[in-house]
């Protein structure tokens, strides 16, 4: 089916060249980072994880979010999603590709990455994260590819795929749970040390992943002859509405526990993020922007009138996606490191260079996504014709 990816319009080629260009710039800057070290980033002794790990965390969520179309279709026989499950699976693949790339660019000694398999350490959550992320990648690759191939041939997919499909559903939950466990099992990091971190990660995943999927479906409607379907988009919008409400609810639970208990180690990180601490507050405007975006998203999605209007639905999905991105991609990681274990404040501001590498990784991911979606859409067009 790969041949479908190279037969495209000028617009498609232009888009791919743009993505390759951005990925190329990112790669050149990465060569610089490889040569100099991670010192080209804004990370430091106190904030030792930054933009890369934050985006990795966010994208694990987007990858897990794909399950929100897979689950209703395969477990509840919600037939309408038959048209879009492949998009959810392919979005998951592209997201996991970005996640793995973000991990790689974050390593100080990337050429030693195989040490994780050479000296497997089941006591380390990172070991398990490697296992579940790669597993999820292959599950979606195998399932997505074979189901699409079968659809193209006009036959039912192979029966041995069925167990893999069922496994892939809890597996999606596992990738984001394990990713949350990277953080919430660490003593002395009050901001992350909360049992609700994994559920919160999942709720924001099930909001941001399907929100992106809705936007992608709307794009596909415009640029191709394949219509993912308004009914499908509306069902997804309901999922996003529930998930974003739950996400904000979980966040408020955090705020309550921290501020009612008045334990400084839990309060101070939230204070730093939302009102600033001891005169430091680089993230304050961002965090309030995130809250505002999520609240606007809730209003637009809960209200049926705005949810059913394409324009306001687009606005709502953008609000949810970027609101979650700021919350998880900016605040969640930096917020956990500031103040540091000695209660000193050293802020982290990403540098332009790490910004370029980050854009490069996203470009690579969207390149993969475009190839996969192009194939999926072409097959759908073919089958319909």
């Amino acid at each position: 089916m790969l041949e479908l990816a190279i037969k495209g319009s000028k617009r498609y080629y232009g888009w791919m060249v743009l993505l390759l260009g951005l990925a190329g710039i990112g790669f050149l800057v990465y060569l610089k980072q490889l040569d100099f070290g991670l010192g080209i980033t804004g990370m430091n002794r106190d904030v030792s994880w930054g933009f890369y790990i934050a985006n990795f965390t966010f994208l694990v969520g987007v990858a897990a979010g794909g399950v929100m179309v897979v689950l209703p279709y395969y477990l509840h026989d919600y037939k309408a999603y038959g048209k879009v499950t492949i998009l959810g699976e392919f979005l998951a693949i592209a997201s996991v590709v970005m996640c793995i790339t973000f991990i790689l660019v974050d390593l100080g000694q990337p050429m030693r990455v195989m040490n994780v398999l050479l000296y497997p350490s089941p006591n380390s959550v990172l070991f398990w994260d490697t296992v579940v992320l790669n597993g999820y990648l292959f599950l979606n690759l195998i399932i997505g590819w074979n189901v699409l191939e079968a659809e193209r041939q006009g036959v039912h997919y192979q029966s041995w795929l069925k167990p893999l499909i069922y496994i892939s559903i809890p597996w999606a939950v596992s990738i984001h749970t394990v990713t949350a466990y990277l953080y919430c099992g660490l003593p002395g990091r009050g901001f992350w040390l909360t049992a609700i971190l994994a559920p919160r990660f999942l709720s924001s995943a099930f909001a941001s992943g399907p929100a992106l999927l809705i936007l992608l479906c709307l794009v596909i409607r415009r640029v191709s002859n394949f219509d993912p379907g308004w009914k499908q988009i509306q069902s997804l919008a309901v999922t996003v509405a529930y998930a974003i409400c739950i996400n904000v609810f979980f966040l408020l639970c955090e705020v309550f526990v921290a501020f009612y208990s008045q334990i400084p180690e839990h309060m101070d990180h939230l204070k730093y993020l939302f009102v600033g601490l001891h005169g430091h507050g680089a993230y304050v405007p961002w965090m309030w922007a995130s809250m505002t975006l999520m609240v606007i998203g809730i209003i637009l999605l809960v209200n049926p009138v705005t949810r059913k209007n394409e324009l306001t639905l687009i606005a709502a999905c953008l609000c949810v996606f970027f609101g979650c991105w700021i919350d998880k991609g900016l605040g969640m990681i930096s917020g956990g490191f500031v103040p540091n274990p000695l209660h000193e404040i050293n802020e982290y501001i990403p540098t332009p260079l790490e910004g370029l590498i980050t854009i490069g990784v996203y470009a690579l991911g969207f390149f993969v996504l475009s190839i996969l979606f192009k194939i999926a859409v072409s097959v759908k067009e073919e089958v319909r014709a």
Partner: protein, 261 residues
Amino acid sequence: MDTSRRRILQLLGLSAAALAAPPVLDALAAGPPAAEPKIGPAKGALTAKQWAMLIDTRKFKSEADIEPLVEACHTIHNVPKIDFKRWEIKWLWAAEYQHAFSGTTSLRFIADEVAHRPYLVLCNHCENPPCVRACPTKATFKRPSDGIVMMDFHRCIGCRFCMAACPFGARSFNYRDPRPFIKETNKLFPTRMKGVVEKCNFCSERLAEGKLPACVEASGGKLKFGDLFDEGSEVRKLIQTNFTIRRKVNLGTEPAVYYIV
């Protein structure tokens, strides 16, 4: 035949899986690994069940009392002196009271003299170290023979999970090549390369030669070093006869550095 290519690919896949499986299975398998060659302690080496340090903070009046200790440590361990804050590397340093004992005790109503002393902080060589639990390659490990939390600089992949896991901020990362920032290289101790984590090693290399840690030696008796599980050790006696505190004991890591305040 079309199936032949598929067959070869299947075989390749299976072989790859077979190659990757043994180390994974080994790690998950119960029971100790097969007998390994034993390396005993060197002649004259200092040994203990769990090394511990006792810092008599009453004897440190100003930063000037701390500096020679830091200097001794950083010189023999080739710790670079980088002024740019983001790239800073330190094994041993002076912190203010409220920072050193953050979450343990606070400044409120304490004597000026106590509040203004410099407090030496370093890796606590915890009995239950979260950094060791977090490391995905066992590049940082707790040495079973004497409880020192050590680093294998050549195995570290630079993921910095240990830095996030350490509740004492004891670890530094080489954000760039540290070698240009080492004034005089001590050829008896390795320098590090960019992209790996490092921290205090309780001078394991000196203990092997029967010497006390460099900071203890430079302190002129302000620091004591000994076996925590040896009832007769000086450290144990001092812990028994003085009121000591440790940093963040509430986290359950059991730090092996004790402070007399």
